[in-house]
Amino acid sequence: MIQFVLLISRQGKVRLTKWYSPYTQKERTKVLRELSGVILARGPKLCNFVDWRGYKVVYKRYASLYFCMCIDQEDNELEVLEMIHHYVEILDRYFGSVCELDLIFNFHKAYYILDEILIAGELQESSKKTVARLIAAQDSLVETAKEQASSISNIIAQATK
């Protein structure tokens, strides 16, 4: 099971955190500090796995961003490594060649998309097409609501409330 997912920039800035096990605020901060220290310090051409407090952290660097997933000792590391890549591919397809800036200004999208891929720390959907379709459907729901809210009748209703 994936315990948590982190996105950390090369400068150590946190871009996304998702915790599937109950960590308190204090523990979360501690984990982030410890792990960014361990992972950012690792050179290139090393393996993508790090032992950490009885768990393993699978990470991969994409340009300036490190994608990390913490898993149990006996989990299949390569499988998780490719889950990371699966997530990155979907982000890439959604944003059209994604970069760190996209994820900074649209951090909420990164969360939505992750939620379509993982639940309970397990893989939910392995088809990129399906995920893209579901996210598009969500986007259009939000759009429709926005249009409704800005329609004239609504403005009038708001004003006279």
Binding site: V14, T24, F105, L123, Q124, T130, Q138
Partner: protein, 1020 residues
């Protein structure tokens, strides 16, 4: 598309990015937090869009690493928004900010359930996702049946069902009882026929969790798993979108093979044959290709297939095929594959008889011990540790020792522990063992626990042949310039006991031995000094004929330490001094130590215990338990009650951590050193002995029952009624005053009236903290009951005595608070009408024989239901005039006010959430304040306050209060008066107050006397 038009958020993020340094960033964040906080307080004017925007900002700030301790309620409340965009934000932010133990989540259970059982598919998805990610036990209990329904019904679309599967998995992890094994097995089998691969993948994860606990109930799933594997790996019968770099869903393949590893064996010959066919195909058909993702994905499948083959204990031929593959992997350049090769070789050691084949790769593995990547070095160390036996122990341990000098700090601890264990387990001869441990202490003394050197002493004492050798070695190390303190201990001990055996060698005369050891004394801790004193006494005793100079030197030392502040040192010095003056008696008393009884190594035992402790049920470990492995050479006999064999993988326990056991054994060594003084040592102080003593007990009665029966003695507190009953029985007053509170209860209460978190009560046993969040007329007060002791607090009871104007509900308070634990008990408060009566918490617990009972006022006071609101002159004056006189507008001249400057009074009003509006009153000596009061009966009601002070006499003032409700006006006026007059002064006699006598003393205005809470509050 940037943030779908949330400009404010984009601007904020840009601002943060433009900050030059951390300080600027903090300022910008603080500003934003302040902004968000005020906007939330003034919730009425907040549109859903704005709320959404602020909640996103909060999440962003939270991600930047700042503490966001407010607004959780707002995030949770968005969940119940009717429209999708707000709801979506509510769900996602809640699941990011809160964890399953957070109390606010409970408030959302009903809304979440409605979304799950409702007909809106998108809402269902949102709710399932959140519960799947952060749902806790309570969610499990109330939602599991609904989630199961969604999963099995074919009328819902795959997007809902796959989420339901994983949501159910989470709930099952939180409480396994929510899935009824018998009823669910058939449904699980049906789910495996699912054609939609999203649902199938999710269901497979669920199955893995289920079979890991109850494989025997899910037999019917086994052939279906094999079918799925055939479909994927052999027939490649799968929609295009589910292939990943040309591989049919590698994740589903891995999951399926993982599920199969939980079945002990595959009995049906046909199924077995098809399975092996597929596995063979995977093992043989996986090639290294250029594309890294394809490579990873295919190897993910390959490694899982390897694990399954190992588990199924396939024919020898297939096994050696696996080992050959792994041997290839540990030599490749690609670091991931090398890492996994080493890891899987280690796993393989545990389940099959392949030790000899793996030994062929020893040289390659030792090379990996010097890999630039610490992850790979660790795996190599694990593997070397696992494959070590009598035949290769010397090579491997020496390799480890050599590596120890250059190893990075992070690995030294583990490395030295493993070297020590291997040296002990597989030592070809004992002198080699002594060599290894001394080298270990020399190179990494910090990581060599006391257990290890105790063990050396034990071996040396018990083996006469070893004694001269060990003494000579110890003497050698003493010549080194700066040696570790552990080395001082062990060599001093050995020289003391056996130094005389070296008598004829150069540099080993008693005098020389003494001086080389004595050199170390100034640098050692008080813990080591007693050992040195014993050594001196022994050297003194062995000096024949006596040497006057040495004798004086040693006596001088004993003399000096006779007045040492450390009692152990002092006693030894005094005793040795007295003994050493008795001549012949000394020789008898300080004779050589008797031999130690044979016992299991504390070190190895500890390593084994660590294994037993780990509850995780990995497939491989289960397997290891089902089958005794002959790959393991364990020289010690194992405990009889079926403890699984040592698992080399998980050996992470650090010896120095369990200081308890160390101390015990130290005591033992020390007491044995003095052992000749009292011939019998009745104290079974050693951890091992204790373990042995406790061992057989477990057979007579499982520990679980003992604990339970213990608990049942304590009167159970189920609900409130029960608690009241119990309270009636408790003889209050009996030994009550033995526990004194820490700090002033009254002051703590007053402080909490002005802030929302802090300590309400503290005594030597317990600390009660409070954290409150208020929202219009409701609030949630969380009581944090923290046990400060190392033993549990029992018979814990908390009863709320609410005044009549509150509706209060306290969640269940556990009867027992475990040692050093903190329990949280949320208390929901609804304010029905204006009143300044105070709720009382009647709290009691038992510690030892003492029943402690305290009654504490709860800081749910009138001002918590106020929201400061600024008012302009245009709004103020018409309102002020429209309320012309009593009962809506009341005026009073208050005397006996605590004198304070006007600014201080303004601050006080502001902290009471009465917002002072400057410049509304032309007279600079007057204050005007406004606030909004919330209760269920009055709803939101504007209150205006005017205070006219007399600069000549600060102890009196005239106060006018007005609002649209007569009770509110009266209560608010009295409340402000109390605050102005009774700023904490006289510390009342602390200590528990006896229960209210039946005759209530006439107290302040005749609030409801029938109201127990009000009565008590008046008394306090």
């Amino acid at each position: 598309m940037a943030l779908s038009g949330m400009r404010g958020l984009s601007v904020f993020i840009s601002d943060i990015r433009n900050c030059q340094n951390k300080e600027q960033e903090r300022l910008r964040v603080d500003k934003e937090l302040g902004n968000v906080r005020t906007r939330f307080k003034n919730e009425k004017g907040l549109s859903p869009y704005e709320k959404k925007k602020y909640v996103w900002k909060m999440l962003y700030i939270y991600m930047l690493g700042y503490d966001v301790d407010f607004g959780h309620m707002e995030a949770v409340s968005l969940i119940s928004a009717p429209k999708y965009p707000e709801k979506q934000v509510g769900y996602i932010v809640t699941s990011c900010l809160l964890n399953e133990n957070h109390d606010f989540l409970r408030l959302a259970i009903n809304t979440v359930r409605n979304d799950i059982i409702g007909r809106n598919e998108t809402f269902q998805c949102l709710a399932l996702t959140m519960v799947g990610n952060i749902g806790g036990r309570e969610f499990a209990e109330s939602l599991a049946p609904d989630v199961q329904k969604l999963l099995i019904s074919s009328s819902y679309r795959p997007l809902v069902r796959k989420k339901a599967a994983l949501c159910l998995l989470r709930l099952y992890r939180k409480n396994p009882d929510v899935v009824n094994v018998d009823g669910w097995a058939d449904r699980m089998a049906q789910l495996l026929d699912e054609r939609d691969l999203g649902v199938l993948t999710s269901s497979m994860s669920l199955l893995v969790a289920l079979v890991s606990n109850h494989h025997d109930s899910y037999w019917s799933c086994l052939p279906k798993c094999v079918k799925i594997l055939e479909r994927l790996a052999r027939n490649q019968d799968i929609p295009q979108e589910y292939t990943y770099y040309g591989i049919p869903s590698p994740w589903l393949q891995v999951k399926t093979m993982r599920a199969l590893q939980y079945f002990p064996t595959v009995e049906d010959p046909n199924t077995r044959r098809s399975l092996f066919e597929v596995l063979q195909r995977i093992l043989m058909g996986t090639d290294v290709v250029k594309n890294v993702n394809k490579n990873n994905a295919s190897h993910a499948v390959l490694f899982e297939a390897l694990a399954l083959v190992m588990h199924l204990d396939a024919e020898k031929e297939m096994m050696s095929q696996c080992v050959a593959l792994l041997g290839k992997f540990i030599a490749v350049r690609e670091p991931n594959i090398r890492y996994l090769g080493l890891e899987n070789m280690t796993r393989m050691l545990m389940v099959t008889d392949v030790q000899d084949i793996i030994k062929r790769h020893q040289a390659q593995i030792i090379t990996s011990l010097k890999d630039p990547d610490i992850s790979i070095r660790r795996r190599a160390l694990d593997l070397l540790y696992g494959m070590c036996d009598v035949s290769n122990a010397k090579d491997i341990v020496e390799e480890l020792l050599q590596y120890l000098s250059t190893a990075d700090f992070a690995m030294r601890e583990e490395l030295s522990l493993k070297a020590a264990i291997l040296a002990e387990k597989f030592a070809p001869d004992l002198s080699w063992y002594v060599d290894v441990i001394l080298q270990l202490i020399d190179k990494a003394g910090d990581f060599v626990s006391d257990d290890i050197w105790f063990r050396v002493v034990q071996f040396v004492t018990n083996n006469e042949d070893l004694q001269p050798y060990a003494a000579a070695k110890a003497r050698e190390y003493l010549d080194k310039p700066a040696i570790h303190e552990t080395m001082v201990k062990v060599s001093a001990y050995i020289i003391g006991e056996f130094g005389h055996l070296l008598a004829r060698r150069p540099g080993c005369s008693p005098k020389e031995l003494f001086s080389v050891i004595h050199e170390k004394l100034p640098a050692v801790s008080t813990y080591t000094v007693p050992i040195l004193l014993s050594t001196y006494a022994k050297i003194f005793m062995h000096t024949q004929p006596p040497d006057a100079e040495l004798q004086n030197q040693i006596w001088a030392i004993f003399n000096k330490y006779e007045s040492c502040i450390d009692v152990e040192i002092q006693q030894r010095a005094a005793e040795y001094l007295a003994l050493s003056r008795r001549g012949a008696a000394l020789v008898d008393i300080l004779a050589e130590m008797p031999k130690f009884p044979e016992r299991q190594s504390a070190l190895i035992k500890k390593a084994e215990d660590t294994e037993v402790d780990t509850a995780e049920q990995s497939a491989i470990k289960l397997r290891a338990q089902q089958q005794t492995s002959n790959a393991l050479v364990v020289t010690d006999q194992r405990p009889a009650n079926g403890t699984p064999p040592v698992n080399q993988l998980g050996l992470v326990k650090i010896p120095s951590m369990s200081s308890n056991a160390d101390h015990n054994s130290t005591d033992q060594v020390l007491s044995q050193e003095n052992g000749t003084l009292s011939t019998v040592d009745p104290q079974p102080a050693s951890a091992d002995l204790l373990g042995d003593l406790l061992g057989p007990l477990a057979i007579e009665g499982p520990p679980g029952t003992a604990v339970q029966s213990q608990q049942s003695v304590i009167p159970g507190v189920g609900g409130d009624s029960n608690a009241v009953d119990a309270a009636a029985i408790v003889p209050v007053g009996e030994e009550q005053n033995s526990v004194q509170p820490i700090g002033n209860i009254a002051e703590r209460f007053l402080a909490l009236c002005l802030k929302d978190s802090g300590v309400l009560y503290e005594d030597p046993n317990i600390q009660i903290g409070i954290k409150a969040e208020w929202r219009v007329h409701q609030g949630c007060l969380v009581l944090f009951l923290g046990n400060k002791n190392t033993s549990p607090l029992v018979s814990v009871q908390a009863i709320i005595l609410p005044p009549s104007h509150f509706k209060m509900e306290l969640s269940l308070v556990p009867d027992t608070i475990p040692p050093r634990a903190q329990v949280q008990c949320p208390l929901e408060v609804v304010n029905l009408r204006p009143s300044r009566d105070v709720a009382v918490l009647d709290f009691s617990y038992k510690f030892g024989n003492n029943m402690v009972n305290v009654k504490l006022r709860l800081p749910a006071v009138l001002n918590k239901f106020l929201q400061p609101i600024p008012v302009s002159a245009e709004e103020f004056f018409p309102q002020w005039r429209s309320l012309s006189g009593p009962p809506l507008k009341l005026q009073e001249v208050v005397r006996g006010v605590k004198p304070m400057p006007l600014a201080e009074m303004a601050n006080l009003l502001n902290s009471l959430r009465l917002m002072v509006c400057p410049a509304l009153d032309p007279n600079p000596n007057n204050l005007v304040a406004s606030t909004m009061f919330y209760s269920e009966s009055t709803r939101a009601m504007l209150c205006l306050v005017r205070i006219e002070t007399d600069p000549a006499d600060r102890t009196q003032l005239r106060m006018t209060v007005s609002s649209g409700d007569p009770t509110l006006t009266l209560e608010l006026k009295e409340f402000i008066k109390e605050q102005l007059c009774s700023i904490p002064t006289a510390p009342r006699a602390p200590g528990p107050v006896p229960p209210a006598p039946p005759v209530a003393q006439p107290t302040s205005p005749a609030a409801a006397l029938t109201d127990p809470g009000a009565m008590l509050a008046g008394l306090l």
